[in-house]
């Protein structure tokens, strides 16, 4: 079996220590995760966690079942197979001089990204999209000198009206 990226979406109780329990599980069972993003959900008291895990299907199914055993985890689904919408937000601080600034702005506008801060030697770009889009923008901006990057990791929902 081959390792692939899997997107797991979990509804977890919004209680202290829950993130610790999830992280502890990954560490203890040596599961590889690429990213973990957590924030509010449509249910009061529940957060939605998006986890990108790497492994073959059996390993990821094992991760899913172990996660589901945590008392504070209400539901976990591996949505990789189905149709899903995924997004990531990144902030990228790029070196910018008077001569490069307009070129950067052009690239940013092609990617429908935004400039959210301008300083004498740099601009900060905000971009949302799937990871490929973020990666390609980042690739192009590297030529100008990237000073700092902060990425949220993937968040995801299934497409369509079902949940």
């Amino acid at each position: 079996m081959t390792d692939t990226k899997h997107t797991l979406v979990a509804l977890v109780e919004d209680k202290p220590g829950v993130l610790n329990r999830v992280a502890s599980l990954f560490r203890r069972r040596s599961f590889n995760i690429e990213s973990l993003a957590v924030g509010g959900s449509e249910h009061p008291g529940l957060s939605r966690m998006t986890i990108v895990a790497i492994g073959d299907s059996a390993q990821v199914e094992q991760v899913r079942k172990q996660l589901e055993k945590l008392i504070n985890v209400v539901k976990v689904a591996d949505i990789t197979e189905g149709d899903m919408v995924t997004r990531e937000l990144a902030l990228i601080k790029v070196k910018a001089t008077a001569s490069t600034r307009s070129e950067i702005m052009q690239i940013v506008s092609i990617f429908r990204a935004n400039i959210v801060d301008v300083a004498p030697g740099s601009v900060t770009v905000e971009v949302t999209g799937d990871e490929d889009k973020v990666n390609s923008l980042l690739g192009l901006l590297r030529d100008f000198g990237v000073k700092e990057v902060s990425r949220t990791g993937r968040i995801a929902l299934t497409r369509g009206s079902g949940s």
Binding site: E13, L25, Q62, I71, N72
Partner: protein
Amino acid sequence: MKKTGAQILCESLIKEGVEVIFGILGGSVLPIYDTFPQYPELRHILVRHEQGAAHAADGYARATHKAGVCIATSGPGATNLVTGIACAYMDSVPMVAITGQVARPVIGKDAFQEIDITGITIPITKHNYLVTDVTELARTVKEAFHIAQTGRPGPVLIDIPRDIQQEQTDFVYPDEVDLPGYRVISRGHPAQIKKAARLIDEADKPVIIAGRGIVISQAYDEFQEFAEKAQIPVAHTLLGLSCFPGDHILGLGMMGMHGTGCANMAVQNADLLIAIGMRFDDRATANTKEFAPNARVIHIDIDPAEIGKNIPVDVPVVGDIKSVLTALNEEVEKREHVDWLSQIEQWRCEYPSQDIRQTGELLPQYVIRQICEATQGDALMVTGVGQNQMFVARYFTFTKPDSLISAGGLGPMGFELPAAMGVKIGRPEEVVWCVAGDGGFQMTIQELATITQENIAVKIAVMNNGYLGMVRQWQELFYERRYVDTKLWNPDFVRIAEAYEIPGVRVKRREEVIPAIQKAMKHPGAFLIDFLIEPEENIYPIVPPGECLARFFEPSRTETWKKKSGVSITEF
């Protein structure tokens, strides 16, 4: 009327049917202990080390199928519980561990005896709680017992800051729990059960692997009916022993690293394995890559995460074993496996793993067999860890359901004595034998004081080989007999017992074994026998680490013995 947190805790425990608590006090649990006199129905057993409290609660739980309860103060008291909690976790034992915590205002300030015990125990508990509001205490206790005792059982820890124990609120004990993230699948899926039944009907060389889940589910009758109806031989994991009569014609004994040759051969040659309430632990399977190469696998377990964890499974059935087996018994056809069973009988003769060699030496196998004879199997056997544990597993014939109490998953030396206390307190009408290693015994030997103080009538058999025997055996076999630091200087255990006002005898020779056991059984209270057994006796067969289950070996001396006379290996 308002009640303090300590009172709420006690009343909640009573609501849960708790009768016994094992523990040691300290500053952070003083308010709780201070209320104990108001609740005489809660018996507190003062142990001599918190590890003893946790193992005793564990033994109590295994013996009664109710959650065992232990309590310790914050900091060192809590950390001393850790081994016992981990042990209960590995063996799916229901337990509620209560720890005191420093008062809320100083949490996070590294206060005196402050330890993040909920952080420490995340990976070794089914769930844990730090109570931060006294109004949540009753609900927390309710949830803790529910989680500990349902589904796949396990330990739950509740950490209670001292100021919460003193704070007051109304006491309302909830009738129900509301745990949206906790589901127990108890009935197996009918379609899966049908699929399993068809595989069973078709198999020619089926073997059951019987695990502790059968004991937990108390499905002895359903299980025996299943094995007999489909006529399938039964190999046990260590903790699955005593779920099926050990003298049954379908019984193969224990499988695994020290399993019987017959059980291991049967498993390796099976065309179908029906794994019930077991988790394919590496001590049972040996090398998983070469494990039962021609077998399809049915796995019945209450924990979905066990399915496919270590071994690929063809037909999983998730559910409570008692209910699944009841349904399965309806589905499977009555069958006979004449050829397969005769093949198995052949292995039984070829690998007479139950035989004890005839010798003047005092062999541990002989001691265990004599305890079995003397009690006629009507005893609860608690073991230590190491060779003594394996000798009990292999040479005691378990005919009484649920009569082996042993720490399989974690294997902590020192389990035996405190666990035996818990077992005896939980089942006072039963005869309880504690088979201890001389090494392990000294890890929790101080509980002899608890035994005397609380008048706990356990019979202690110290298997005194003067070695950390199991490790010495590995050094002998895999490290060219370099016995580095496994030799033990031991005190005189009979005099030690005497100092604790427990009578005892020392046994050096074979002839003294039976009289000593009789003496122990006649004595109404606790009794200790120090068996000076053959120091370098090994447990065989052994599957060397990393090898496949079929490549077990027995020593050549047994072979030559057998060839030379044909009488020296005797069936006792």
